[in-house]
Point group: C2
Chain length 161, copies 2
Amino acid sequence: MTDLNKLLTPLFLSEKEIRKIIELIFFSYREFTLGPDEILNKINYGRAHHRVIYFVGKQKNITIKDLLGILKITKQSLSRVLNQLVKEKYILVSIGEDKRTKKLCLTQKGLDLEAKLSKIQIDKIKSIINDAKESDINGFKKILYSMIDEKSKKIFNKLNE
Amino acid sequence: MTDLNKLLTPLFLSEKEIRKIIELIFFSYREFTLGPDEILNKINYGRAHHRVIYFVGKQKNITIKDLLGILKITKQSLSRVLNQLVKEKYILVSIGEDKRTKKLCLTQKGLDLEAKLSKIQIDKIKSIINDAKESDINGFKKILYSMIDEKSKKIFNKLNE
DNA sequence: TTATTTAGGTCAGTCATATTGACTTAATTA
DNA sequence: TAATTAAGTCAATATGACTGACCTAAATAA
């Protein structure tokens, strides 16, 4: 980058400032996932289990296919995690109207774990929101939304219709 | 939560809205790491290599100890990744003034890879910033900063003195 | 000067997440 | 009836991370 360009670049667009954002994303994501990870660890589960429980809780009677579409992992990867959750009765499986499909939903045990895990993250965000200006929260949400790809935007919008 | 509480809770503090934020964080982080991950995959490296290269690039002559403090992983975990990077000449190791310590720095090869990986993320953020209001960016940065723990805040501040 | 702490390294074993590839079954749809 | 779709399974592999035990060498404190 030439000196001229540097002069013409507003501070918030400089590479130095952008690298700060990269670091903040790294540190904040790690911190954000720490709480649930610790609880999951105690019951020999991992973050993948949280994701499955979260989205099954979010969209009751979701099919395997749709869940795979949200998580963007292979069915072999999902299989291991999901089978454990079904075996240990966090998730209940039933046959869909289209008999090729399966419908997943959380049992009471699953709902309890989901609530316990999500509570940590919800509380964290709540406390941040309490100390922040509403305009900052709105900026935060807008930027997050603009960071995601079109397909995920569609999935996100559908989940929150 | 009672109906009364619901009435008293501003929309942006409702659990429903907070869960949207949780989902946005999940989707955006995945999208954010996707580009570098693809490049790393081609040379049989992973995200851990990116982190090491990023922070060694950020703080020239960083010691193993300080790097471990930033990454918050065990030395056994770092060892595998770092040894690969040293063996394949992305990182150069030298002895510190305190002869127990080692100083790490990127070689030209390392600088090139760092630039290539970070460029994807920098460009992504740049394009978002270009389309967004400065106040939204500032809100985004403020909230990210408030999400991280005290220790990471200190590390972040030190990295950007 | 000796004892302790610190920085770094290493060996071994384990677990969780995720992948590719190949193949199967059953149900739906063209 | 043929093709597609949803789901499942077996096997092999890679990556990222952990615990625990143990070691060396240098710096520092008692």
